[in-house]
């Protein structure tokens, strides 16, 4: 078994916690995980990309080979379209619906939506609304993990435990909000 995930968004959206949650859950299930990201200049409001690979066998490349990825998990809808070449035919795209408009050439909603809907397997999640409902506007990323959880080769309980472990240093309220966002996202 192997499962390759492209995580993407805009610098500052905090996607690293998502990688860590999924990787920790994989480790707890005895899987290998390998993750790769880029820091520095790109994080200043630019395109950010992270590759996360899970497998029951040792993983070689830190980067996902073109045309073989299983999932694009996007924190922003325009960015969801940027790394499609990594995806295997028919593989899924799950994206937040909330645009991050920090460039003048940002496409109009309509065009963006139709490009997303033209993909073979795309789900658009209102992660911001879920985060608000969960009581923490920063829980949107974990709402997306919830939405992705039915695709991931990981049990719900190991993801829940990974969320608890990842957010424990930030206190019980943050853990609770993220767990709620996960559950709501899973239903979305």
């Amino acid at each position: 078994m192997k499962y390759d995930i492209v995580l993407c968004g805009v610098g500052g959206q905090g996607g690293i916690s998502v990688s860590i949650v999924i990787a920790q859950a994989a480790l707890a299930e005895g899987l290998a995980a390998k993750q790769s990201e880029v820091h520095g200049m790109a994080q200043r409001g630019g395109e950010v990309l992270s590759h996360l690979r899970l497998s029951d066998r040792p993983i070689a490349s830190p980067l996902i080979p073109e045309g073989t990825g299983h999932l694009v998990l996007a924190f922003e809808p325009l960015e969801a379209l940027r790394y499609l070449s990594s995806l295997a035919p028919g593989a899924a795209v799950i994206t937040s619906s909330a645009p991050f408009r920090n460039i003048a050439s940002y496409p109009p909603d309509e065009g963006l939506l139709s490009a997303l809907l033209g993909l073979p397997n795309c789900r658009i999640v209102d992660a911001e609304a879920i985060a608000r409902e969960a009581g923490n506007p920063r829980a949107g990323n974990i709402a997306l993990v919830g939405a992705a959880s039915r695709h991931l080769p990981l049990s719900e309980s190991s993801l829940v435990q990974a969320i608890e472990r990842c957010f424990a240093p930030k206190g019980g309220a943050v853990v609770e909000a993220n767990l709620k966002a996960f559950v709501l996202g899973r239903k979305a």
Binding site: I20, L81, N102
Partner: protein, 536 residues
């Protein structure tokens, strides 16, 4: 043994801790920064005094960091210095000379290269500098090896009495995977190197030490031979990998078995000096050899030399693999005889790029706005800038700067431009970069009375690398300018706020008109650093 998912830089920090280091020094630089950040975390949880104390400190620059690490080694204790690839240029003087010293406590220099230039101004390969200095170089292929090799490096350093360079690249430094760790040994006791002529590089001593270095380097070659891993395959076709490139070879390996000739013979090089015998052996019967290495065609060039060879040598220099940028599991495929794979696409949808930009509310935006407006009065002018978030001032909509070269270059270049008659000349430099490499430029400026204006963007942090504290507090900046001899009325403090825009434009113009050296300090704390401080 405990196992955790670690970033490459965390694995290196943990390896150094478990090797029993007593001191670590660094200057922030992507992709190396998290090594020191992790070490500082360990230091904060450990004793603050006594023989078990870990000193983990940011320094003014990589050269001062390197020299501090040398001092700790001289004191008999294990020390680590970490930096990005271009940081090694700054530390080149102590680095190259330290090869000649009879190292006492193990000394590890970790250098994180940035092929693809994700957050750097070049993609130089530190293996070349290690060889230039005749310093042994270890090149891990994954996070586990990064941990293991970090620990081993201290043993090699003490056994050969040489510094050891651990070379990693972005994908390893900033990648995460599971790492198994082992119990640490004890610390070295404090014991001064009672060896004046092993540590004093006067010509008569250095001549003898240099001969020692050359002998030690050849002895180290046998270690490289022993650790180079060989796999028998097609005797006519050889593949040599180094460091992280191994992972891209492995990713494609299964498909190679399906090719008519089957899998090639394979040699993996994980350390330098170059294992000559292992390379000759793997190539003995080969008609073609492909070298897959991250960074420069370092091994490839060795093999090719300049005279014709009977064997076809393929790699980044010959063009089978792209000459620039990072390796990927895909861009090595044509060289391995494998076809491209297609993924999905967004069809005709036009995808705009999203370049990095200054944060909303960044003080640099206000500084650039007043600088640009002040300069409208001068049809000819130059703005030489520097390394940091404010480098983004080159991009639209600001397009406020004319050059960015290296840490501190803004001041030297503005001075040179002014001396060559291009005035007004402005140097734009951040507070951390000024402390790193700007002060000596200011000394030159003041010594020659050059008509140039240094605009210090003082945000009280090292922003681009994630808001590490600036080495000294901001209020010392003006005192340094005064102490160097800039006239008091031309050391000007401004506040980088929109509301002060008009006054700032006028103040800037006064200094641009002034025939002599001036320093304008535009101050306002970095908003990201303030957010980070609130969270902490």
């Amino acid at each position: 043994m405990p196992m955790d998912i670690l970033m490459g830089n965390e694995a290196i920090a943990l390896g150094a801790l478990h090797a029993g280091i007593s001191a670590a020094f660094a200057y922030p630089g992507t992709p190396s920064t998290e090594i020191m950040e992790s070490l500082q975390g360990f230091a904060a949880r450990g004793p603050s005094a006594g023989p078990e104390r870990l000193a983990a400190q940011w320094c003014a620059n990589e050269k001062t960091a390197y020299e501090a690490a040398l001092g700790a080694s001289f004191a008999g204790r294990r020390a680590c210095v970490s930096m990005k690839h271009v940081g090694l240029n700054v530390a080149a003087d102590p680095f190259v000379n330290s090869a000649l010293l009879r190292i006492k406590g193990g000394l590890l220099v970790v250098v994180a290269d940035d092929p693809g230039m994700h957050s750097s101004q070049d993609e130089q390969d530190s293996r070349a500098l290690a060889e230039f200095a005749r310093v042994p170089c270890l090149e891990p292929s994954d996070q586990q090896e990064a941990y293991d090799m970090t620990r081993a490096a201290f043993d090699i350093s003490e056994r050969y009495r040489m510094p050891v360079l651990l070379r990693v690249t972005t994908r390893l430094a900033h990648g995460r995977s599971a790492v198994e760790t082992a119990a640490p040994p004890g610390r070295n006791a404090h014991s001064k190197a009672e060896d004046r002529w092993g540590w004093t590089l006067m010509p008569h001593a250095a001549r003898g030490l240099w001969k020692e270095v050359l002998a030690k380097y050849e002895a180290l070659r046998s270690e490289s031979e022993a650790s180079a891993a060989r796999e028998r395959g097609d005797p006519l076709r050889a593949v040599i990998t180094a460091g992280l490139a191994l992972e891209y070879y492995r990713e494609n390996e299964a498909e190679l078995s399906g090719l008519p000739a089957g899998k090639p013979s394979h040699l993996h090089v994980d350390r330098y000096p170059m294992p000559y015998a292992a390379i000759r052996e793997i190539c003995a019967t080969a008609k073609r050899v492909l070298i897959i290495e991250e960074g420069a065609p370092f091994i490839e060039r060795y093999l090719r030399g300049i005279l014709p060879t009977a064997i076809a040598i393929e790699g980044r220099e010959s063009g089978e693999i792209p000459a620039t940028g990072e390796l990927t599991p895909d861009n090595v495929r044509p060289a391995l005889g494998l076809g491209a794979r297609a993924g999905q696409s967004a069809g005709a949808f036009e995808l705009p790029r999203r370049p990095p930009q200054l944060c909303q509310g960044c003080p640099h935006l206000d500084s650039y706005t007043f600088l640009t407006e002040a300069l409208t009065a001068y049809p000819v002018h130059s703005v030489n800038a520097d390394i940091g978030c404010y480098t983004l001032g080159a991009l639209p909509p600001l397009e406020a700067i004319d050059s960015v070269v290296d840490m501190g270059a803004s001041i030297g270049m503005a001075r040179g431009a002014a001396e060559a008659g291009l005035v007004p000349a402005v140097a734009v430099i951040g507070d951390s970069t000024f402390y790193h490499s700007g002060i000596t430029g200011l000394v030159d400026l003041a010594a020659h009375g050059t008509s140039a204006t240094i605009l210090i963007l003082d945000n009280s942090t090292t922003g681009m690398t994630g808001a590490q504290p600036t080495i000294l507090p901001s209020e010392r900046l003006s005192r340094i300018a005064l102490a160097c001899g800039v006239a008091e009325e031309h050391v000007v403090l401004l506040s980088a706020h929109k509301k002060d825009h008009e006054a700032n434009v006028q103040a800037m113009r006064r200094e641009l008109d002034y025939q002599g050296p001036s320093v304008v300090i535009s101050a306002r704390p970095c908003i990201e650093a303030m957010k980070k401080a609130r969270k902490a």
